[in-house]
C-alpha cells in the first residue's frame, strides 16, 4: 500500500497479515478439485509465500482463525452496493442474492461458515440482516426470531451449496456433480419421495431455489 521498501528492485514482498490472507484465499479458490480437496494447508501456504511456519505464526494465531478470516474477507467484498432507495424487503433480497453469488464463486466459504468456534463471517451476515430488520421496525424477540430464521437458512444453504457450487473441478461440470449427488440419494433410499426430490435436485437451479426460500421467510416475517 504505502511506498516504502524501495530497496531491492524486485522487492522481497515483506510478509504481512494482509498478504497471508490473500494467499490463503487464492489457495482456497484454486484448491477446488474434483476430489474432496484437503482445503487450505499450512504447508501449501508456506510454499506459496516461500517462507517458514514461524513467519506465518508471527502474524496469524492459528490456521482456524486464518480460514475464518478468509471467509469473512470474501463476504465483506460481496456487500458492494445495496441501493438505499429500495424498501427493506427488497434490500434483504438483494443482500441475500449477493451472499449467494459470493458463496457460489468461492465454494469453500459455505462450509467455513458452519465450522466450529467464532466465525466473523457469520456475524457479518447477522449484522446486515439485523440492521435491515431493525429498519423494518422489528425489535426485541421479534427481531432475533426473524433474524435467526433468515440467517440460519442462509448458513444451512451455504453449507449445502458447497457440495454443488459452480466453481468446482475443471473436469466434472456442475450438472454431472448434481446428477451424482442425486444418484447417491436414490441408491441410499428407495422411497419414492426421495426419488422425487432427487429428480428435481439434478435438474434444478440452486440460485432460484435459494431466492425462493428467502421469499418464503420474508413472507413469514411480514405476514
Amino acid at each position: 500500500m504505502t511506498s516504502n521498501t524501495p530497496r531491492t528492485g524486485r522487492r522481497r514482498h515483506a510478509l504481512s497479515k494482509e498478504r497471508i490472507l490473500q494467499a490463503a484465499i487464492a489457495i482456497l479458490d484454486e484448491e477446488v478439485a474434483d476430489t474432496e480437496s484437503t482445503g487450505l494447508t499450512l504447508r501449501a501456504l508456506m510454499a506459496r509465500l516461500s517462507t517458514g511456519s514461524g513467519a506465518i505464526y508471527h502474524y496469524v494465531a492459528n490456521m482456524d482463525e486464518l480460514r475464518a478470516a478468509a471467509a469473512d474477507e470474501v463476504l465483506r467484498l460481496s456487500f458492494a452496493d445495496v441501493p438505499s432507495d429500495a424498501d427493506t424487503m427488497a434490500r434483504l433480497r438483494i443482500v441475500a442474492a449477493e451472499i449467494f453469488d459470493s458463496l457460489d464463486a468461492h465454494s469453500w466459504v459455505g462450509a467455513q461458515l458452519t465450522r466450529g468456534a467464532f466465525q466473523p463471517g457469520a456475524l457479518r451476515i447477522w449484522k446486515v440482516i439485523g440492521t435491515e430488520l431493525h429498519h423494518f421496525g422489528l425489535t426485541g424477540a421479534a427481531l432475533t426470531d426473524a433474524g435467526s430464521a433468515l440467517a440460519n437458512f442462509i448458513f444451512g444453504s451455504a453449507a449445502q451449496h458447497t457440495l454443488t457450487s459452480r466453481q468446482h473441478a475443471n473436469g466434472t461440470d456442475r450438472a454431472a456433480r448434481l446428477e451424482s449427488v442425486a444418484n447417491q440419494w436414490r441408491s441410499f433410499d428407495r422411497d419414492p419421495i426421495v426419488a422425487d426430490i432427487a429428480d428435481r435436485l439434478s435438474e434444478h437451479d440452486d440460485r432460484g431455489q435459494f431466492l425462493a426460500g428467502v421469499d418464503i421467510i420474508l413472507r413469514g416475517i411480514a405476514g
Copy 2:
C-alpha cells in the same frame, strides 16, 4: 443379537459395524469438553474397543463415513412418535422439535450435518419434511422450494447450536458459554445493532427461537 459365540464365558464381544457405531456415538457424547474437543478419533475408537485399526477398517470404509453414520443413527432414533391424527403443519412442528431436542442432547450432530460429502442424516431430515409437505398438497418446485427453506434453516440452526448446546462441558454451564460468545461478538464489532443481538443472545432461549423460526417459515409456506 443371535445366540452364538457361546465359547468363552466372558465373550470377546465380536466386532461388528453396529458395535463400532455405538462406540463412536458414546465417544462423541463423552468428548464434549470445555475445550474445543478433537471429536471422534480413530485412536480413541481403538482404545475403547481394544482393537487395531485394521479391524475397524474391516467394517467401516473410513472415519468420515462413520461420523456421518453416527449422526444419522442419533436422528433416526429421534423420530419416535409423531401422532398421525394431527394436521401437516402441526406434525412438522413436532418433527422439528424432536430434531432440536436430539441436536441439543448430542451437541456434535449439528456440526456433523453440514460436513462435506454425503450426509445420510441430512437426507433423513429432507425425507421427513418432503413427505409432510407432499401430504400438505405441494408438488414440483413448490415442494422443493418449501422443503429447502425448512431443511436449510434446520441445518443452519443445527450448526450454530453446536456452539451453545446444553450438553457440553461439566465445568462451564450454558449461561456462561452464551455470555462468552456474546462478549466475543461485542468486542469484535462495536456497532449498537450487534450489541443488541448479543444482549438477547446471552439471555435467550435457543429452543424457543428455533421453534419461532419454524413457525415463520411454515407461515411463509402456507401464506
